[in-house]
């Protein structure tokens, strides 16, 4: 008889009240979490606006998912690798990605989403779930090297249907890769609701198929996500293998700026989702403990606006790259025919 506990870990209720065991986090860290979440939301809104104005390209908003991402990253050490997707800017921000690089991504600049040296963030996954075997392999390699490091891979509920998810989970289980599979179940894969993605009651229970632990977490509760990820990373670092965390959250915005969610979502859903907004929840908690004031809030909002403005400006000022500039990145050494093609490319730039 195998028992799977799919009860949902929660520490903060939507009204900011403590309903679970508080993790050992000092006031500064709590405020830092809040700051990053607000910064991420500010970036998100600005990017959405810029896209609507036609100034940047397709963008996938993460609004609503800040807790599930920021909570997880706060459990990581800086040298531990994060494997993001197109919707992971809150996590990337928390793990050290400069804001301007986040703007460069929807601007389709080759530098978009590329982590500077020293920032342990892998390339942005576009092909759903294709990065999960890479994460499993990197984590496994770290284990072979006896490093005692934990890794975190982000992906959505839809991603769990791909063969790549399955193969990554199975390899991770067999080779005890120190990897946290962090599934942000935001209720939807574009227009496909979670219930239609798989017949399993939870995503977390999928871990049963691979012989390791899975857990459901309130993904709008940054403390719950932080705590669950911390424990999973501790196990990973200790050689106890992978964990699957299902962070139940909600995508407040459209799938991307090209999507019209009114075609498939009921307006009521949104009302409820706004009530459980992760940023609001953390703020209520901080305020309840006198760790946060109206004044601090106003200052933070202004500061976030300014950071985002400056980052966008920096992104705009980043020199464009030409096609020929990408030639050295096809192979370490440029083959003769590609060198000749580069001449041609450069010739067209008049």
């Amino acid at each position: 008889m195998i028992r799977v506990d799919v009860s949902r870990r929660q520490i903060l209720a939507p009204d900011g009240k403590l309903v679970g065991e508080m993790p050992a986090l000092g006031p500064d860290t709590l405020r830092d979490m809040y700051r990053i979440m607000v910064l991420a939301r500010t970036f998100d809104q600005r990017a959405l606006n810029l896209q609507r104005q036609g100034r940047i390209g397709t963008f996938a908003p993460a609004a609503g998912q800040e807790a599930s991402q920021v909570g997880a990253v706060f459990a990581m050490r800086r040298d531990e690798w994060l494997f993001p997707t197109y919707r992971s800017h809150p996590a990337m921000l928390a793990h050290g990605m400069p804001l301007d690089r986040l703007f460069l991504y929807p601007m389709a600049h080759p530098l978009g989403g590329v982590a500077p040296p020293g920032v342990a963030i892998y390339s942005v996954a576009i092909s759903i779930a294709a990065h999960l075997p890479h994460a499993a392999g990197a984590a496994w390699a770290s284990r072979i090297r006896r490093e005692s490091k934990g890794f975190v891979a982000l992906f959505g509920d839809g991603a769990t249907s791909e063969g790549d998810f399955h193969e990554a989970m199975n390899f991770a289980g067999v080779f005890r890769a120190p990897l946290v599979f962090l599934c942000e179940n935001n209720g939807w894969a574009i227009s496909v609701p979670r219930e239609h993605q798989t017949a399993s009651e939870t995503i977390a229970q999928k871990a049963v198929a691979y012989g390791f632990g899975g857990e459901v977490v309130d993904g709008n509760d940054v403390l719950a996500v932080y705590q669950a990820t911390s424990e999973a990373l501790e196990r990973a670092r200790a050689g106890e293998g992978p964990t699957l965390i299902e962070a139940q959250t909600y995508r407040l915005g459209p799938h991307t700026t090209a999507d019209d969610p009114t075609r498939y979502r009921k307006p009521e859903e949104l009302t409820e989702a706004e009530r459980i907004d992760p940023i609001l929840r953390l703020r209520l908690f901080l305020e309840g403990r006198d760790l946060w004031s109206e004044k601090e809030e106003a200052a933070l909002r202004a500061e976030a606006q300014e950071s985002v403005r400056a980052a966008y400006q920096k992104a705009q000022e980043t020199p464009p790259m030409a096609l020929g500039d990408l030639v050295p990145y096809v192979y370490a050494e440029v083959p003769p025919y590609l060198a000749a093609e580069r001449e041609e490319m450069n010739g067209w730039r008049v």
Binding site: A108, P110, I128, S161, I190, V192, P320
Partner: protein, 325 residues
């Protein structure tokens, strides 16, 4: 006749096929309630219900693989892969499975499957969303591959694909979905698979193009015309099985050929056409067959895709080169 965009023509073809034959169904990511991310399956869910306009889980291999089983079992699935770059995930099911159902069973089982997928750049899409796959299918006996360049052909080829007793990939040039309208017959009709279309008559040079590159070729042809060069444009329409005779006949007439493709040049469909022409019509050639295509690197971030994609200017330059040879 109504004036329609390509996406409207596709939508109409699907609706008519489903109307006429209840074995026909559409399936794929977001094709049901949402009507497809490009609205190719718009309203089919409302009209035909969730068992015939099916939202599937997010797994391209699963979509194609289960659609194979449905086709073998007697249905007529039209599977959508949201972007052709994600048919890589279904590659084994397409190439090692769908292509061999008839062969492996000596005709006991067949696979009347259609896989539709938008492809090609020029619409500022994300990584992998612009890949084209025709060269990989060209080398896969057992699969067919068509790609329309006009709304009219989009409807007729799709209906021909649905009627076809073998698996057909229908590659829809994303940037032509809404780029223009043309008169499209209201009734159900088919455009034969395996027949190229003479898109423009000419006598000095043949351009061979397909799908997304047909407008580029036509534009280059018009520019050349202004300079007194008469350019014939062949719209291949079908990549597999290829209309070799149409290409050879044109080259035997014009003695010069330039092939225009969107995918990287090396190992592309253009290589096969150049090889075909030089094997079977070398004595007619007054210049080497030239290829204009994507550069031999992965598709770039879209901020610089214009530098990557074949342009009328690049085609024009190749025309000049074969004329000056």
């Amino acid at each position: 006749m109504a004036r329609m965009t390509m996406i409207q023509a596709i939508n109409q073809a699907l609706a008519q096929a489903m109307e006429a034959d209840d074995r026909v169904l559409v399936m794929g990511e977001d094709v049901g309630r949402n009507g497809g991310v490009f609205r190719a399956t718009d309203k089919l869910y409302d009209r035909f219900g969730p068992e015939r306009a099916i939202d599937t889980p997010l797994a391209e291999g699963g979509i194609v693989g289960t659609a194979i089983g449905m086709a073998v079992y007697g249905l007529r699935p039209v599977a959508e892969i949201q972007f052709m770059g994600f048919t890589y995930q279904a590659f084994s099911q397409l190439v090692a499975q769908a292509a061999r159902i008839r062969y492996r069973s000596l005709g006991q089982y067949t696979c009347p499957l259609v896989v539709r997928a938008p492809y090609g750049g020029g619409v500022r899409a994300l990584e992998l969303h612009s890949d084209t796959l025709e060269a990989r299918v060209l080398h896969t006996p057992g699969l067919k591959f068509v790609t329309p360049a006009t709304p009219r052909d989009a409807k007729g080829l799709l209906l021909a694909a649905i009627d076809d007793p073998d698996p057909v990939i229908v590659a829809e040039p994303l940037r032509l979905y809404r780029s223009h309208r043309e008169e499209v017959p209201e009734e159900r009709y088919t455009v034969p698979i395996g027949k190229a279309r003479l898109a423009r008559e000419g006598s000095d040079v043949t351009l061979v193009a397909w799908g997304s590159q047909v407008p580029t070729a036509l534009e280059a042809a018009e520019a050349a015309e202004a300079d007194g060069v008469s350019v014939e444009v062949i719209d291949l329409r079908t990549i597999v099985p290829m209309d070799q005779e149409a290409i050879l006949a044109s080259v035997r007439k014009t003695h010069r050929v330039v092939i225009v493709q969107e995918a990287p040049v090396i190992g592309g469909v253009g290589a096969e056409i150049a090889a075909l022409v030089s094997e079977r019509a070398i004595l007619s050639l007054e210049a080497p067959p030239l290829r204009v295509g994507g550069y031999d690197m992965p598709y770039p971030p879209s901020a610089i895709e214009e530098q990557y994609l074949p342009s009328p200017e690049r085609v024009r330059q190749a025309i000049d080169r074969v004329l000056a040879f």
